[in-house]
Amino acid sequence: MRHSIAIVSLVLFVLSMALLLTLAKQAYIPRKEVRDLAKIYLNTTYNPWNKKFTAMSPEGVTAIVWDYRGLDTVFETAVFYLAIIGSIALARGIGKYSKPTSDEKKLGLSLIVKTVTRITTVSIIAVAVSIALHGHLTPGGGFQGGATAAVAPLLILIAFSQYFLLERGVSKDLMLVIRSLGLAGIGLTAIAAYFIGVAMNKYAFVLQNQAKPLSEVSIPAYIDGQLISGTLWFFNISEFFAVMAGFTIVLILLVIPERAFKSSGGEEK
């Protein structure tokens, strides 16, 4: 192999450097204790005995993402939205293109792969939805479910063809509508507690989940005996649709064949 000497020296460098740092006690070593801030988060994430500060979600990460640090996540969603908008803007100027007139069976991969992909796509969507809906109880949430679900259209695009998706109505415009609905859902959930507070003539905050010391408004944590953790469940569903639709738009735009660009007057190479 060409690189073998470099690889061996690299590995030896890492091993000896780690040994040196360990002997000198210079590297960062995690301790047996976590920081005090983390203790506060862990103590209050699901704590029915401390109603004033809890987020009522057994999942610490989702509680931080959508409750303690909710405003950060809303702005991060905005960054994500702008990056997708930038991609769509860059992909403009593509002319009309038609399906190749050759046989339908020539498109995509072999029959075995197509059949397995049909089964797999269903299970991918099922896994993604379960990840998103249980995001406040088990590991998962809107981002995880959305990123998982975005692989299903990509598999279809590659194993079948993009015409398979387009003929079944999954187009860029439909995905834009779903995406806007998801973003609107995030916005509505964020100001829900505030509107309830206005209606009940009480103080309430934007992005509030459970009751806080200064405001007694709280979104119900249990519906029909099932724990939904207030706003977290709605945030997860909305984020699931926004992320999934956003990635699907970009992937549909990305696999447009090159002759579409050439037919719209692009430079010939």
Binding site: H3, A6, I7, L10, V11, V14, L15, V61, T62, I131, P139, G140, G141, F143, Q144, A147, T148, A150, V151, L154, I158, F247, L251, L254, V255, E258
Partner: protein
Amino acid sequence: MIDPQIIVLGMAALAALVSVIATYLAILEKNLVRAVVFSAIQSTLYAFLYYVLMAPDIVLVYIPVAVGLYPAVVLILISKTEKEEKV
């Protein structure tokens, strides 16, 4: 009896060490498709590392992104443009 923590963290250290090799080959490889494959190896090892470091949320979001979407997107880009890097 050997301490189980040593074995578990030893696996993580092994994964990190192999990921260095995979990264090196991904950066230095001239054939871009092979670079993507090396990058996929590195992603799988990182996912294992996150699992051992007790971050199941990160594993769930990292595997679809780094194994499912990155290679596909970069491979589509390569198939539309150039497949060799000329140094």
